[in-house]
Point group: C2
Chain length 335, copies 2
Amino acid sequence: MSPTMHDVARLAGVSIKTVSNVVNDYPHIRESTRERVRAAIAELDYVPNKAARNLRSGRSGAISLVMPDLRNPYFAELADDVMRAAAEHGLTVLIEQLTGEREQELQTLHGLRQRAADGVIYSVLNLDLEDADQIDVPVPLVLLGDRIFHGPADHVTIQNAEGAKAATEHLLERGRRRLLALGAHEGEVLGSAGLRLHGYREALEAAGVPFDPDLVTHVGRWHRVDGAEAMREVVARGVTFDGVVAFNDSLALGAMRVLLDAGLRVPEDVAIIGFDDVDETRYSQPTLSTIDPGRAEIARRAVEVLVERMNGLASPPREIAAPFSVVARESTATG
Amino acid sequence: MSPTMHDVARLAGVSIKTVSNVVNDYPHIRESTRERVRAAIAELDYVPNKAARNLRSGRSGAISLVMPDLRNPYFAELADDVMRAAAEHGLTVLIEQLTGEREQELQTLHGLRQRAADGVIYSVLNLDLEDADQIDVPVPLVLLGDRIFHGPADHVTIQNAEGAKAATEHLLERGRRRLLALGAHEGEVLGSAGLRLHGYREALEAAGVPFDPDLVTHVGRWHRVDGAEAMREVVARGVTFDGVVAFNDSLALGAMRVLLDAGLRVPEDVAIIGFDDVDETRYSQPTLSTIDPGRAEIARRAVEVLVERMNGLASPPREIAAPFSVVARESTATG
DNA sequence: ATGAAAGCGCTAACAT
DNA sequence: ATGTTAGCGCTTTCAT
């Protein structure tokens, strides 16, 4: 059996309370006492029992991160960022993966009751604002993603419209005028797709470039195959364009491959920009220009805001937008 | 305050022990009693307190997964696989990321004492068999990776030599004879690089193809840039070859880009095969042939073996090799 | 088949 | 500055 506080107390000749004080860095302890206790702890190789501490304190020191699966590089990188941010607050992260089915998503949220985390960061995959009342976790919650705005909890978000607008402007500045919008979702207004399309249109309008519905391509999901398929369809249709604003990097990479296969040059014939700044954009051929959505900052802020709530902050839900930036690479290079 | 077992017991008119029995599916309970307790649980929306359960039972229901960071797709996919496998045993996974520094790795292992997981799956990044005694965790341990064989704990591993041999044979079967080995580590015998090089040599030997040291390229790490750099150097050196056995997919993808840039066709001029079967091999241009190292199986077996140990199995450490397979894609297609 | 009671190891009141 | 004491909510003997 591993040693307990009692063992340490006995060896150091103090009470268990004093050991607890030393372990928890309670300030008012005589230096000599502290030393004695430290020595005893070292000698016994004592480690506080977490379960006991959790039971007594009512806290687990862990937060849950509910999000789409780690195979998606964007979310793998987000998870990494969240774990690093959480570590700075001394928190452990429990990852719960969403598979894409609505039912499973509700199930997962419900299952959080058992998990006993002190807070939840939830990157919404399928639910809407209408489902918000079903998101009933017994601890503080921070929402990520672009499906629920002005919901029941703090929300840290990407500047979708602004980012897409900047991406579009990036191409316009390089003299491109026929810009394909790749990745729209039929009829969507909110959500990343709707917002990014909105940003695209805003940029066109601001530049006095007429909006052409033929240049908006709709896709089902935002994976590489979807970008490739959509691009194949566009090329087959004979649509002419000299730039592509892809709504995420995977779409852009998929589309780029089809363009290259079709004998078009990137960026000479077609410039292309993505969105997300996932690692592989640095390694594609050509390297992909993109929007850095401030993922690390999102993670930092999400944890920060969550910790505030865990510490009892009571104020109306907040909407927090992370700063973004344009990352110019080969796929939109000039000359 | 959320309801406790006492509340449920009171409402159901039974003792707390009976509630516990129902919650834990203890078999000998009268059906009517069980129903009454179930109803009380539902009415109060009772959820067992995990901290209390952990304290009393001495188990946390969690395992730690210690591994390189999630930004590396291979490990993101491994983490996903491990989490799924663990979920089937009702276990939660705590991920601990390694940053690449030896010191941090030892630190992380030491920190596990506080974590209070019931077991550890550790994908070794920097340590060697010589460091094995420093890997002193107080719970069952399963090792992954190719740095420590016949160490102090069960080990689930990729068939490195056999996989690399199969990859090499795959190219030989397609008539390639001048095969570049991409990714060797100077002087390494064990470890993935050493083992894969060994498999490469075995295949050559079996086919009666002479080994040419000029065709072995050494790299520092196994990232895409390293593959690109090595390939640039080889091309500059004027070495001729018609096939590449890359020791992982990232190296292959980086090298492929340089080949294409240099005006060589893949697979017509140079066929190339990777190792790992990460998702992006399905989307590169051309798609990349590779070795599927049986990652999902590794995760399954690792969790299984760990659970056996957690349940008290005492037997000498075991070495378990997962089955692998050759995945043929465009980069090694014939005709 | 169910109940009574002890106690896992710690923290937080309260006392001194 | 340090000690005493009472639980946190559950599982586990041990009874019955």
